[in-house]
């Protein structure tokens, strides 16, 4: 029976694998394991028991050769069609299963890290011996235990584990053999034993070379394995590194073509200097936190503050001791605990670091408490992830991965340093080359060791409970008249928000009082919050890049979501090259601080702040608390209201103030340094700098203090660009052509120079602009440039911005080849900039007039109320898929703001207007709505069939929408039950979100693609380039070139058959065979209303000749 089944299955699998062309059949170990577990029953051959023998035993016999080798072939092929069984499996298993499995593995990893193979094995046996629990184990779990024994050289134990694998019908994986061989290399086993092991490896369908190509090694594992291999094959040579592949995307043919290679631009640093900076960065990250002086430290210290600081110091040392005690006590209790499972699940995680480190983490959290408190869940996650990050750092140290990174990096900087030979490599290519040359040593990627989200939370909760328990303060510390009693510093309270409740931890007012009295001026940050002091490590894979030590993800995602990571892992590495190269390019831009502007900002910040200039005032500037009777129980309603308002205001002020304090303090910390922002991206490919507080995506204030570290002469048109940039920042002359803006700037030159020379004492022209701080910085730059003897030769570090206009609609207009639409969003050449919002308002007004004449009541009522302002938000959000429902609410809000508008018509009028806005947009962007509808419908069908919407950007980045029907698991913790949402891939997609978010996400993936294309081509032309989504920055000298590239790339991107490709991709992915989950979605591809690019070539070519209007300016600018 079994055999017949097996045969059928094999046939099926072979057929499937042939269909799948067998290419890319390299399945992940996990995937394999799954496929295997499914097939395990059928694989239990009668000879299985005999095969329990291992190579070190003398009676090797015929053993498992047959039993293993044949099915192995099937399994290899099976991996090609692995998609299907896995899906079924996952559907069945539920998320609990996966979390448990992950938890077991990370627990085993802990024991491996702690070098406690006995404990690891005991845990494994616990599951292995119970038939029910055994299902949770896959071959990876066994491998981890094998590795811990291999490190000790205990071959016997590894043999036993092999037989255990055998007995449950699991097949050893490549990693199992790697562990065995490592152990043999370590313990000098006999040639015969090694020979047998290698033989069985081959019988299992593996190749010795694969060990070195696919396995990840730590410490000296690789050397030991090689040693073992060389005992049986003395002449064995490591397989040559795979030839670097080149991306084949047609959009980047030029970029990657070998003929047109140019050398990578050099930084203005010598090798020596870069090495020193790398050392600084490394030390920073090794400390994991950095404590810096805040910008407030220049204020004089009051005697009261000195007293409070002393008090705080004593308290802290007391708290340190009591936390340490509590931690040790709880660890002791855990280790004593004899539960059924024989161990406490959290215990190993509390042993990974020295106790002092846990205490340090907890004290650090205590220092950051704001008087308003913080939600339990946030605190727990933060504590948990801090422990995790330090553990990862420790692992990198232990596995000697860091050493290797250091070695490679030292060579790598030769690519960037000015005093070394120019090289025609991209950073990623160069890094890969160096790694390949280095050969030996640990792998740069760590084996997957992420902790399940639930575990992170549980660990965090445990630490939080310790903290709440242990930290106490004498009640009478501020008021000696009270009796002495220790009370907790932190208390736990619920806050009720309509139907749900949130647990908060709040500091006792006594504590907040001391902290505010002390006015401490030291701030502690995670080292990843500070910009890097050396060029970032280039991204070479989804796991590796950015910071030296801090774990950074290539793609940001919400906690617990793993779909993106899986997708990136499965994607052939070469497809990711363009994206990685673009991120490296953005991250390699060196920055410095605009010191004069920073000094002015700090002086205002340390004085009284200025809300109009976006410098948050200190709390001391808050309005006085309302005078009310001291006994608050007698307050009447209005007094309560007043107090509430006051409290709300101070809370807001506090958070704004802290945010600005962080930004300015970090800026001040790096004021004399050159620094870098490593980049990563969100799931749509939009790029972001990693350091969270201070970066160029920030507000006006932060942008104003950033300059390119590299300077370039202004060139002939640079000064004009600076002036135009200034006018753009003011928000004036929005409807004028560039030439007019330039003329206007020249007219007000006197004001500009006055602002630059006397920013705080002069006429303060700059203060009344849209972006005052950037305007001020620009004024200063213009003043310096215009006063230099030769402005064209003036070296400028100033970034000039070029902004897209309603960028989403630009992409829609180009996708749909809408001429009218295209010109209204400045995709067509035109003398003056177009304003799409006014155009829509105009169109709506026309419709309204017609209706009013025909006696439509609501149209008559609306006379004189249709304006740009009323429709703006709706037009803007049309791109992001706003529905009639949402659009109506937006318009209703605007109409409500108009006092004269009769309220009883609100609903009707907004309903009417949203209809007209949509009609107008349809008129102007005839295809936009059709494209949106098609995208929405497809997404709906896909989601309804139980799958998530996926697509691939024209640059090859795979994207999956991470929206699932949330199910939450309740974590039972002593203090409070935490409901944790989990969004693992086993869940059903959230149809509404999948559907509504698809059009905007798709458009965002296009705009990110365009940005990356522009970034890469700017690199080839030697430009400095950074972006804030659709706003591109470069030197004044190179604005014209950047504009040209930007336009070319927009045209190139939209000359691709984007929609057709999408349609084909979806048909292939979702409609090829009936998915086991449900019916295949009856997608109607290609959609009828979509004018496919090929069809409208004539119009297309017209658009092409003038597209990407953000730069129509160039044509108008005098040359």
């Amino acid at each position: 029976m079994y055999i017949r089944q097996l045969k059928v299955e094999r046939k099926l699998s072979i057929a499937a694998s042939q269909q799948a062309l067998g290419g890319q059949a390299k399945a992940k170990p996990k995937v394999k394991a799954k496929a295997k577990t499914k097939a395990k029953k059928s694989l239990k051959s009668p000879k299985g028991k005999v095969a329990a023998a291992a190579w070190s035993q003398s009676h090797a016999g015929p053993h498992s050769v047959y039993a293993h080798s044949k099915p192995r072939v099937a399994a290899v092929k099976e991996s090609a069609k692995v998609q299907r069984p896995r899906r079924v499996r996952e559907e069945k298993d539920g998320s609990q299963y996966k979390i448990l499995q992950q938890t077991i593995q990370s627990n085993l990893e802990c024991f491996l890290f702690l070098q406690q193979p006995e404990k690891a094995e005991r845990l494994l046996l616990l599951y292995h011996s119970s038939p029910a629990k055994r299902k949770l184990l896959n071959v990876n779990a066994y491998n981890i235990v094998m590795r811990s024994w291999a490190r000790k050289g205990c071959l016997q134990r590894i043999n036993r584990l092999f037989s255990m694998l055998e007995s449950v019908g699991l097949r050893p994986s490549l990693d199992s053999y790697a562990a065995a061989l490592e152990c043999m290399g370590r313990s000098q086993s006999s040639t015969k034993a090694i020979w047998r092991c290698v033989q069985q490896l081959k019988n299992d369908g593996f190749h010795v070379d694969e060990l070195f190509q696919k396995c990840l090694f730590e410490e000296d594992e690789k050397e030991k394995v090689l040693r073992a291999i060389r005992i049986v094959q003395p002449n064995y040579q490591l397989p040559p590194p795979p030839n670097p592949q080149t991306c084949k995307s047609s959009l980047l043919q030029d970029f990657y073509s070998k003929e047109k290679l140019v050398s990578y631009p050099k930084l203005d640093f010598s090798v020596q200097e870069l090495q020193e900076r790398f050392q600084q960065q490394l030390e920073l990250e090794l400390d994991s936190t950095v404590t810096i002086e805040s910008v407030e430290s220049t204020k004089p210290v009051t005697p009261q503050a000195i007293k409070a600081r002393k008090l705080l110091a004593t308290l802290r040392s007391r708290w340190h001791d009591s936390i340490l005690q509590a931690l040790q006590k709880s660890k002791h209790n855990m280790s004593q605990l004899k539960t059924v499972s024989g161990y406490n699940i959290l215990y190993p995680y509390l042993c990974l670091l020295p106790d002092e480190e846990y205490v340090g983490i907890m004290l650090q959290i205590l220092n950051t408490f704001s008087p308003q408190g913080e939600s339990l869940a946030v605190l727990a996650r933060e504590l948990g992830s801090k422990v995790y990050n330090r553990y990862i750092t420790q692992r990198k140290l232990r596995s000697r991965q860091l050493e290797k990174v250091q070695e490679v990096y030292e060579d790598y900087i030769h690519l960037l340093a000015k005093d070394s030979q120019p090289d025609e490599y991209l950073p990623r290519e160069y890094w890969e080359k160096l790694v390949a040359e280095a050969g030996f040593g640990p792998s740069l990627n760590l084996k997957d060791c992420s902790w399940p989200y639930m575990l992170l939370m549980r660990l965090g909760m445990h630490m939080l409970e310790l903290l709440v328990q242990a930290v106490k303060v004498p009640r009478n510390i501020l008021n000696p008249r009270l009796e002495h009693k220790l009370i907790p510093v932190l208390y736990h309270i619920y806050s009720f928000r309509s139907s749900w409740q949130v647990g908060l931890i709040k500091p006792h007012p006594i504590f907040s009082q001391i902290v505010s009295d002390a006015a401490e001026t030291l701030l502690t940050f995670n080292s990843s919050a500070i910009p890097m002091l050396c060029p970032p490590v280039p991204w070479t894979s989804p796991h590796f890049g950015a910071f030296v030590l801090n774990d950074t993800r290539l793609m940001r995602f919400v906690d617990g979501a793993i779909q993106h990571q899986l997708l990136l892992e499965q994607c052939p590495p070469v497809n990711l090259h363009p994206v990685l190269d673009a991120l490296n390019q953005l991250g390699n831009c060196a920055w410095k601080i605009n010191q004069p502007v920073l000094d002015i900002i700090i002086s205002i910040f340390n004085d009284k702040g200025n809300e109009k200039l976006d410098i948050p005032p200190p709390i001391s500037e808050a309005p006085r608390p309302p005078a009310a009777p001291s006994n608050s129980s007698t307050w009447n309603k209005s007094q309560k209201q007043e107090v509430l308002l006051y409290k709300k205001k101070t809370a807001e002020m506090h958070s704004l103030r802290m945010d600005a304090l962080y930004k300015l303090s970090i800026a001040n910390y790096v004021r004399d340094k050159v620094f870098w922002f490593p980049h990563n991206m969100d799931f749509r490919g939009r790029t972001y700098p990693c350091p969270p507080y201070f970066n160029h995506l920030g507000n006006d204030v932060t942008r104003a203090i950033l300059l390119f570290a590299e300077g370039r002469p202004l060139g002939p048109k640079g000064l004009d660009w600076l002036k135009i940039h200034l006018i753009n920042l003011t928000g004036l002359k929005k409807k004028s052509a560039l030439q007019e803006r330039l003329e206007y700037a020249n007219e007000i030159m006197e004001e500009i120079l006055d602002s630059a020379d006397h920013p705080l004492t002069g006429r303060k022209w700059w203060m009344n602009t849209d972006e005052p701080w950037q305007a001020l910085a620009c004024c200063m730059e213009i003043a310096k440039a215009s006063r230099s003897p030769d402005p064209a030769a003036y070296i400028s570090h100033f970034p000039v911005h070029q902004d897209g206009s309603c960028n989403g609609l630009q992409h829609y207009a180009a996708l749909g080849r809408d001429l009218i639409g295209a010109s209204s969003v400045n995709l067509m050449p035109c003398n003056v900039p177009q304003d799409v919002y006014s155009a829509v308002a105009q169109q709506v007004e026309e419709f309204r007039k017609k209706d009013a004449e025909q006696g439509v009541k609501v149209a008559q009522v609306l006379q004189g109320f249709v304006s740009r302002k009323v429709v703006k938000q709706t037009v803007m959000t049309v791109v992001y898929g706003v529905t009639r429902y949402g659009g109506r609410l937006q318009i209703e809000k605007r109409l409500k703001e108009i006092d004269e508008f009769p309220e009883e018509y609100l609903w009707e009028a907004s309903h009417y207007l949203v209809k007209q806005v949509f009609n107008s947009i349809k008129e102007m962007f005839s295809a936009t709505r059709d494209i949106q509808n098609w995208l929405t419908d497809s997404a709906k069908l896909i989601a309804q069939s139980g799958r998530t919407v996926e697509w691939v950007t024209p640059l090859g980045l795979p994207i999956v929408q991470p929206y699932y029907r949330s199910s939450s698991t309740v974590l039972n913790c002593g203090m409070q039950n935490l409901s944790v949402k989990n969004s693992s891939s086993n869940q059903k997609p959230d149809t509404v979100k999948q559907k509504n978010a698809f059009p905007p996400n798709f458009i965002h993936s296009l705009d990110s693609t365009h940005m990356m294309l522009t970034a890469l081509h700017c690199l080839r032309r030697g430009l400095t380039f950074v972006s804030v989504h659709d706003c591109y920055w470069t030197h004044a000298l190179t604005v014209d070139v950047m504009n040209q590239i930007c336009r070319q790339q927009f045209v190139a991107l939209h000359s691709e058959k984007i929609l057709q490709d999408l349609s084909e991709f979806m048909l292939e992915k979702y409609c090829r065979y009936s998915s086991p989950v449900g019916k295949p979605p009856p997608l109607s591809f290609p959609p009828t209303p979509i004018p496919l690019p090929g069809v409208v070539v004539p119009r297309c070519s017209r658009v092409v000749s003038s597209a990407w209007g953000l730069l129509w300016r160039e044509a108008v600018l005098p040359s």
């Binding site: 009720f496 608050s632 007698t634 309603k637 509430l644 039950n977």
Partner: protein, 413 residues
């Protein structure tokens, strides 16, 4: 057809109200109330025609405009009679207080009540229903003057008054008061009801069906008003007769130990009022204003929810004796909510987590077992706990007050 003294053309009201829908309708101010003229209970029975259920349904469907939230109506004359009997049942002899009917909609119950001789104030939030309520039998109140626009008015002698307003949007906390939202003092002034001391008899009775989407929220707001003697409760112990979903009724009346049902709301409601179940009616007996005529029965996972329950909530006469006062009741509410946020937590832990002083001693004094879980305490226990805490000055900790204030804001917004 129309019996008795129905005004000419009343039969055509269904058609006429549509034309009249745009007539300016404002919440009224001046009162021309006929209380002085006639003693209650002496009304001649006008025996108005009560439309059949189908007719009422049609009316609801016609009136319904898009953008109006889900509402439930009494359309069936039989149900109306049941409700009328429930409302009148158990009434003490002597003059009866006026009955405020919230959101009467098609007015089936209104007519039934009038026929039974009850003095009714109809408070309707959808202006489209007003003409139907008014043209037939009632006064229309405008901002400038009170018009007795129909002869029926005089003959009914003010037995009915129709006001444009929304009971469930009384006394909004923020923003300006735009009709149909309104202030309770305006409402009571229009009704001609004056405030009476707390311990006095019920000054006014209110009937309504709680809007389903905000059911829980409305209950909380009413309770807050009750404990602080705000809003309608400024006028005395206003008696509420409300239809609420069965699951909420179960919560209101739950006893300690009833898992899932026993909540902070149970404690506060049981301390605050006497709860009487007057009647239970299946959901299907009511008409909704949904286009498809669906019932839109809210889902309930753990509690039975097959009926709407007519519940009478009469504020306790002795609520503000002992330690509890309208000024400190917010603290009491806060305490109960905190305790029952996690019903399985132990009271000791809760008290300790607020860094209150000697929780253990207090608990012993109150004879609450050391390991008692908060879900095991009776409402009266909470009241005693509060009084004890109040006496021991524990609530003087400033942070506790801040938290109470915070919680008020969160609930009222």
């Amino acid at each position: 057809m129309l019996a008795g003294r129905a005004p000419p053309g009343a039969a055509g009201c269904c058609r006429r109200f549509l034309a009249a829908a745009l007539r300016p309708l404002l919440c009224g101010l001046p009162s021309c109330w006929a209380t002085a003229r006639r003693a209650a209970g002496q009304w001649p029975s006008p025996s108005l025609r009560v439309p059949e259920a189908a007719e009422a349904e049609r009316l609801v469907q016609q009136v319904q405009r898009t953008g109006v939230p889900l509402r439930r109506f009494i359309a069936c004359p039989q149900l109306a009679r049941t409700v009328q009997r429930c409302l009148q049942g158990g009434a003490s002899p002597g003059p009866q207080p006026v009955l405020l009917e919230c959101a009467p909609g098609p007015g089936i119950l209104t007519r039934t009540l009038l026929n039974a001789g009850v003095r009714v104030v109809a408070l309707e939030s959808n202006s489209a229903f007003l003409p139907n309520l008014q043209t037939g039998y009632c006064i229309q109140i405008s901002s400038t003057e009170t018009n007795f626009i129909q002869s029926l008015e005089n003959s009914l002698d003010g037995q009915l008054k129709v006001i444009y307003g929304d009971f469930f949007r009384l006394d909004p906390l923020t923003g300006t008061v735009k009709p149909p939202a309104m202030c309770s003092d305006k409402l009571f002034e229009t009704m001609g009801v004056a405030a009476v001391p707390w311990r006095a008899d019920v000054p006014v009775r209110i009937f309504g069906i709680l809007p389903q989407r905000k059911e829980r929220n409305t209950l909380w707001r009413l309770l807050f008003a009750l404990y602080e003697c705000n809003s309608i409760y400024r006028y005395g112990r206003v008696e509420l007769n409300i239809f609420i979903s069965e699951k909420e009724y179960k919560v209101l009346t739950a006893k300690p130990g009833e898992a899932r049902a026993y909540q902070a709301l149970s404690v506060l409601c049981q301390i605050g009022c006497e709860i009487q179940l007057l009647h239970m009616e299946p959901w299907s007996s009511f008409v909704t204003n949904l286009k498809n005529g669906g019932l839109a029965v809210p889902k309930s996972m753990w509690l039975p929810n097959d009926h709407l329950c007519l519940v009478r909530l009469t504020p306790q006469q002795n609520l503000f004796t002992r330690g509890l006062k309208p000024t400190n009741s917010a603290t009491f509410i806060f305490m109960v909510k905190q305790c029952l946020a996690k019903p399985k937590s132990r009271l000791t832990d809760r008290l300790n987590s607020w860094s209150l002083d000697n929780g253990g001693k207090l608990q012993r004094a109150l004879e609450i077992p050391k390991n008692a879980e908060t879900r095991n305490l009776y409402p009266e226990d909470y009241r005693r706990l509060f009084e004890a805490l109040q006496n021991s000055n524990m609530f003087t900790e400033t942070w506790f007050h801040d938290e109470v204030l915070e919680s008020i804001r969160n609930i009222n917004l």
